[in-house]
Subunit: 364 residues, 2 copies
C-alpha cells in the first residue's frame, strides 16, 4: 500500500464515491462530471456520498472526466529541429498568458503521422490547432479541413499547405534569401551554391524553368520561397544564375555533402547559402573535408541563427528568424479566432534579421 | 463556401446527421459516441440518419466524442534543449510502434507548470505519463502521485524526483562525469573547472562538505550526480579538489560566463568540464573573450554530444548520452506497466559514451 504523507490527507477518489453511493463507477462519473443521463435516485445518492467524503466536484474534476479544458494543440514537423523548439516556446508563452494549456505532437515530417496527429488532437477536444505542415498535401489538408468543420480553428505556422484555406503566420523567406544572396553578390561572389533548393530528384534535368516550377508547386512553401529570393537577387544584379549550383536530391546531411563534394570540386564554388541547420552542419563538414578554410577559401551564410553559430570560429554570418515572435503571433491569431474574430483568412509575414559576422570574404 | 476537391467526397458531419434525424447535436453525439443516455426513439432516428448519410460510427468517431484514445503524455523540462528533443524522438518512435499517440507538454523548468501539465494530461485521459521532472518537489510530486492513484502509471526520465516512488530510466551521470574527469587528470590537468555544479547561491561558502551535501539533496538529481563523479575521480587519483573551481550560482549562460571570468583569471584553470549545452556555449564564448585558444591554452570536455561539436574547430571532446535509447527505454517501461507488468519500482541506468576528439591538450 502506498503511504501518504501526514501533512497531505488523501483526496477521495471517484471509486470511493461510487462505492459509498452503491452505484457503478461510470454512473458516479456521469453525475460528478455533469454529462450523460442518470436516474434522479442515483444522482441523489452520488451527490450525498461525494459531500460526505469531501469529493471536489469542481471544474477540474469535471474536466478530468470529460476532457474538456482550455487547450491548444500544436503539430510541429520536427521537434528535434531547434527552429521548431524556438517557435514552440513563443506559442506556449502566449497561450499560457491567456490561460490555455498547450499540448504538442511532432509529425516527424511525415504526412500520415500529421493526419493522425490532427485526429488525436480532435479526440482530445482541443479548442484550436496550430500546425507547421510536414509538406504532404492530401491526407493532412483533409484532416485539417475536417477539424475546421468541427469548429476547431486551424492556424498554419512557418509553412502553408496548398489546398488548405486557413490563417497562417509565416516568415519572409523570399526576402530573407534575396538579402543573403544580394550580400554575397555585392561582396563579389558569382558562383554561390544554394543548399538546399526545391525538391527535385537528384540528377533531374534541373534548368531554371524546372527549378522555378518545382519551387512554385513545392509542398513545403518555405523552401520554394528561398529559391525564388535567390533567383530575384541574381536577376536584380544582372548576374547569370547557374542552375547546377542549386541543390536537388535528398534534403538531409548526406544529400548536402554529396552535392558539395561535386560542386566544390567541379563548380568552383566560392560561397554557400545553407538554408537549414542540417545543411549548415554539412557545409562546415564538407569545407573541412575538402580543405577549404572559412572564409578565406569559402564563404558561408546560414539560416537560422544559433548560439553555436556565434561561438564558431569564425563566427558565422546568419539570417536570424524571429522564432519566438512567430510562435506568439500564431497563438495570438488562434486566440482571436477562438473569441470569434472575423471570417476572413489572414496570412501574416514576419521579417528576418541579417546578422553580419565573419564567415564571408569580400572578393572585391 | 469552402470548395472540396472532387476526388475526395465530403464526409458527413455530426451536424448533418443531427439535422437529418431532427434531434439536437448533443443527442446525436451521445448516440454515435456510445455514451450517455437517450430515448430509444432518438437512438433509432439518429442511427437511421447516420446510415443514410454514410456517417462513420467507428472507434475514431467514438474517441472524438469521449477523448478516450491510446495516448501517452510526456512532460519535459525544456523542449528547447536538444537533449530533450532527442529523448522525445525515442519515446515517440517506441510508442508509435505500439500503436499509441504521444502528446507533449514543456514545463519550462517550472515546478508549478509541471503540476499544471500533470493535471491537463489527466484531464485529457492519457493512459500513462513520462516525466523529466523540472526539479521542484512538492507540487509536482503530489500531482504525479495523484495521477498514479487514478491508475495512470508514471515513469520518470533523466531525472528523478525525491518524494516520488515511481519507475525511472536515467543516465549514469556519476560514471560519465568520473570518466571525463579521469581523462583530464590523466592528461595532466589539475585545475579543472566544473560548470555547473550543485545548486548553491553564488558566493555561498562552498567547501567540499557544503557542495556534497547540496549534491546529495539537490532537486535535480543529474546535476548532483555529475558533481559526485567529479569528486570520485579526484579521490581515486589522490589529487586535492579545489572547491572554488566548482560553479555555484545561477545555472545559465550568464552565470557560467561570470564564473569563468573569475576562475580563468584568478584560478589558473587549465580545463573545463561543461555539463549542459548552455555551459558549453558559455565556455567557448568565455575562452574567446579571454584570449584562450582551445586546446592550446584551455581544454574542454562537453556534455552532450551535438552535430555542432563535431564540426567545431577544433572538434570538441564530448560525453555522448544515449538520448534515443533513453526515450525508448522509458516508453517500453511505461508500456509494460500498461500491460499490468509487475508491482516493483524499477530504476534503470544507461551508460554514456566518451567521444575523444581534439579539444583536450595533454600536459604531460
Amino acid at each position: 500500500m502506498k503511504s501518504v504523507p501526514s501533512h497531505e490527507p488523501a483526496k477521495p477518489t471517484l471509486s470511493e464515491v461510487s462505492e459509498r453511493a452503491g452505484v457503478g463507477r461510470s454512473s458516479a462519473a456521469r453525475v460528478l462530471g455533469g454529462y450523460g443521463s442518470v436516474s434522479a435516485r442515483t444522482r441523489e445518492r452520488v451527490l450525498a456520498a461525494a459531500a460526505e467524503l469531501g469529493y471536489e466536484t469542481n471544474e477540474l474534476a469535471r474536466s478530468m472526466n470529460t476532457g474538456v479544458t482550455r487547450t491548444i494543440g500544436v503539430i510541429l514537423a520536427d521537434l528535434s529541429n531547434p527552429f521548431f523548439a524556438g517557435v514552440l516556446r513563443g506559442i506556449a508563452d502566449a497561450t499560457r498568458r491567456a490561460g490555455y494549456g498547450t499540448i504538442v505532437i511532432s509529425s516527424d515530417e511525415d504526412e500520415g503521422l500529421e493526419a493522425d496527429a490532427v485526429r488525436l488532437l480532435t479526440a482530445k477536444q482541443v479548442d484550436g490547432i496550430i500546425v507547421a505542415p510536414a509538406g504532404g498535401r492530401d491526407a493532412s489538408a483533409s484532416a485539417l479541413r475536417s477539424a475546421a468543420e468541427r469548429g476547431i480553428p486551424v492556424v498554419q505556422i512557418d509553412r502553408t499547405l496548398r489546398g488548405l484555406d486557413a490563417d497562417a503566420v509565416v516568415l519572409d523567406n523570399r526576402d530573407a534569401a534575396r538579402e543573403a544572396t544580394d550580400y554575397l553578390l555585392a561582396a563579389g561572389h558569382r558562383r554561390i551554391a544554394l543548399a538546399w533548393g526545391p525538391a527535385l530528384p537528384a540528377g533531374a534535368d534541373a534548368d531554371l524553368a524546372a527549378l522555378t516550377s518545382a519551387a512554385l508547386t513545392s509542398e513545403i512553401t518555405s523552401t520554394g520561397e528561398r529559391f525564388l529570393g535567390y533567383v530575384d537577387a541574381f536577376a536584380d544584379a544582372g548576374v547569370p544564375l547557374r542552375p547546377e549550383l542549386v541543390m536537388t536530391g535528398a534534403q538531409n546531411i548526406a544529400g548536402v555533402e554529396e552535392f558539395l563534394a561535386r560542386t566544390l570540386t567541379d563548380g568552383d564554388v566560392t560561397a554557400i547559402i545553407a538554408t537549414e541547420q542540417d545543411s549548415v552542419i554539412a557545409a562546415l563538414s564538407a569545407a573541412r573535408d575538402h580543405g577549404r578554410r572559412i572564409p578565406q577559401d569559402l564563404s558561408l551564410v546560414a539560416f537560422d541563427d544559433s548560439p553555436w553559430a556565434e561561438v564558431h570560429d569564425p563566427p558565422i554570418t546568419t539570417v536570424r528568424q524571429p522564432l519566438h515572435a512567430l510562435g506568439e503571433r500564431a497563438a495570438g491569431r488562434l486566440l482571436s479566432r477562438l473569441e470569434g474574430g472575423g471570417d476572413r483568412v489572414i496570412v501574416s509575414h514576419l521579417a528576418s534579421e541579417f546578422i553580419d559576422r565573419r564567415s564571408v570574404r569580400r572578393l572585391r
